[in-house]
Symmetry: C3
């Protein structure tokens, strides 16, 4: 009597009724081994989230009739190599996403904690997503430390409906909940894009009312696009982040993916310029071998070449020496990603 | 293959067999916007739990044959606006309820962490439950700080069976687990009621062995009732809490609900007297608009008028100034409650 | 619409398709009452995990075709008497097990946090498992404090396939992830056994690179076996743990179980010798009465007789006086274990 739940087969068998109202348990466990060389040390260890973030979630949709639907989404991060939640030693929360929505012909209104629109281009227009040693954000984060770079609490979001001839978009505000000058949830931003045939392009802009290490009220915009030639998908993105009087970041990436056998070959080149100097270049190469739609073996190699005082890392282990200023950081990982 | 779980439709289709043994994933996400005016400041922000506590739970029942059943219930609170568990920054636990039961013709024996009987009248006989700016408990909690006001650890509970001609009831003891004078789980209480036709009335009593800010070994009793006239449901409750030599609280509420369109109009008046002086009055008005049985839009307005040194609040934001002693606190919220 | 999930009945009805790909929610809630006498105090309280560890988990298997499967397993501990996770005051994590696997004719490769092979003989060859007042590990833990006694982070495990004529086995390494001398996940071990007809026997060995209170780099081996006579199952295990220059533990247990009515009678005798002196004997007697395959009532009595400076306990409550050196500790518990 151990099998007390669910089944994909049951779900498939239930047909149309299924689509009307459902609760879904879903997640990803992505684990592997990683080698990182930096700061004069080469270290092997277990890696998590090589190509996708490990997670556990619960979501559902209810058909309200008249084209209207309600839904919820609770999703938390897993530190799979230690059996923890969002971080080592922490338990399961739903900080990846915690929302309730009303959907209809008008689009979707969504309340709660959610991704910021400005984050999406980073992950959508990078063949390595924002995971693993190959991600373009390895050379992005350094001086961009606003609280809402990835997600924001206390948000009201609006999403365009899906029937606008390829145009898609969203807008979000995070409620400050204070009269003080700074709030970790003071965010306003939007994203608008166009996808038709082989082309996909999107622009995002956001600003926040948080003091950061590099200046107050940072602004970020991001343009990403891809064009699928069939034999290969060409991808690029450009990000600019500024904070008055201090930070000016130009960050861009060129990449391509190509189907090879039952898998996908991936390559990218990223360049990160802080305040006008070329601070770091990263090259990344990877391959995903699909055992099924849900399960893949993968391997990734990447190398960051820092310049001047920059010290970006491909993703070191806790306790490993930091990258030397102007030094190199190289990474290799091989792993297994299973979705459910 | 994302939809790996369940479905309401599947459940409905499975018919009678379903009732015999099942595991159920359930929960609520309730989010909205709230304005609170108090201490000279009017502040807007995101609110959670406007009419129901956000939660995630797992429960199940097993048919043991011969009229006997076993069951479990694990339910944790969600701080939905930040993606956290019971409180901001905390992860998911099951402190709302964590129990195992044996049930039969004799009723139910339940072990674990559970609601105290004395808490039930507060929420059952209040049209605003114990949630949001309109709840009568806004003016209750102040000096009543015993550890078991809402729930207790380490409890053994007994519930009467459901076939006693309208009489219902429960008793609970919390095991101290110490020879020390005070224990956070030292509770003993009961609740007994009668529900027939339009009438529902219940009495609860409890005492605990915990030292509180207002005296040791507080005792609480509570009488609640409702009478449904059809066009309106009249509701009232009276609570008395005492701690030897210090606290004497008289707390009462009169309320009514009326079905209006596809929704429910709610109104209440609450008065809270500490040690013989009228410390606070609260008026609350709300409307729930049902999009379905599971999903509702709602709005609530309330105002607390404090007297003397009392400083009750309808539910301020973190960092918002406290209500001035003898001052007013007013709240408004509008939100979306989705159950699953 | 509260019942939004699953059903055992649905699962059974779905037949063969079910076995191919599924996600399963599972768990145990085990609660009861316990009396512990030690240090001059007899104390009653609520006990958890009297015969099985309370837990909540999610696991799944995907059929990849060609005899290959992928799977995940996320399982966390429940402190059921207080509604908490792994420990009182902590929330739900998945430190019991957090793994992803590929399985096939070659066996299973498993990555993540998992039990160490050396732990298995303790629980498999003890009629009281490693739970409750009767467990043989009550007199084991004292000086054996290595981080990987039960589980290890960052592991790569291999399991033999199930078709080797009764031979079973596994090997595991935990990746250090540091150049430092000690790491909490520096483990290497294996377990190999043989099960055929009434006989089951297994040997396990492991060593770790962690400094402990009783010396660095402890080594442990363990031999366990059982022979089922029908009227009774005879069980024994022997464990030796050493840390260079300090600790030398000989720990053995003889036990028997016998089916009596709809339940199981259990008895064990355990002896624990630290560095050559007989430090403690434990006798334990218990009975499990099965209400169903998933649900049982149980009771256990045990007594530890310490010698010299030893002060083992059957499992005291927080705040209860420790066992006096050379003194006795006796325990009784009765509870309800429900699996789902």
């Amino acid at each position: 009597m151990k099998k007390s739940l669910i089944a994909l087969a049951v779900l498939a068998a239930s047909g149309a009724a299924m689509a009307q109202s459902s609760v879904t348990l879903f997640g990803i466990v992505d684990l592997g081994v990683r080698n990182v060389k930096q700061g004069g040390q080469s270290l092997w260890g277990m890696s998590k989230d090589g190509i996708n973030s490990s997670r556990l979630g619960f979501r559902g949709v209810e058909d309200l009739g008249g084209g209207m639907r309600a839904g919820f989404w609770l999703e938390g991060a897993l530190t799979s190599d230690t059996g923890d939640g969002r971080t080592t030693g922490a338990a399961l929360d739903f900080q990846r996403r915690s929302t309730v929505s009303v959907m209809g012909g008008f689009g979707e209104i969504r309340l709660g904690r959610d991704y910021t629109p400005t984050f999406w281009n980073h992950t959508v227009f990078d063949p390595f997503g924002t995971n693993g040693v190959g991600s373009s954000v390895n050379t992005y984060g350094g001086a961009v430390t606003g609280a809402t770079v990835v997600r924001s609490n206390n948000t009201i979001g609006y999403f365009l409906p899906g029937n606008l001839g390829g145009i898609y978009g969203q807008a979000m505000i995070g409620l400050k909940e204070t009269k003080a000058a700074n709030s970790a949830s003071d965010y306003a931003g939007f994203r608008v894009g166009y996808q038709q045939g082989p082309l996909n392009v999107a622009l995002a802009y956001g600003q926040e009312g948080t003091a950061t290490a590099t200046g107050s009220n940072p602004k970020r915009w991001n343009l990403g696009g891809s064009y699928n030639l069939g034999v290969a998908n060409l991808i690029g993105q450009y990000t600019r982040a500024t904070a008055p009087g201090s930070l000016k970041l130009n960050h861009w990436m060129l990449a391509a993916t190509a189907p090879v056998g039952p898998g996908l070959l991936k390559a990218s080149y990223t360049r990160s310029d802080y305040n006008g100097s070329n601070d770091a270049n990263q090259i990344a190469l990877g391959y995903e071998y699909n055992l099924s739609k849900r399960t893949a073996l993968y391997t990734t190699y990447s190398r960051i070449a820092n310049k001047g005082g920059a010290a970006f890392s491909v993703g070191a282990f806790a306790g490993q020496p930091a990258t030397a200023p102007g030094g190199k950081s190289t990474g290799f990982e091989a792993g297994l990603r299973h979705s459910f």
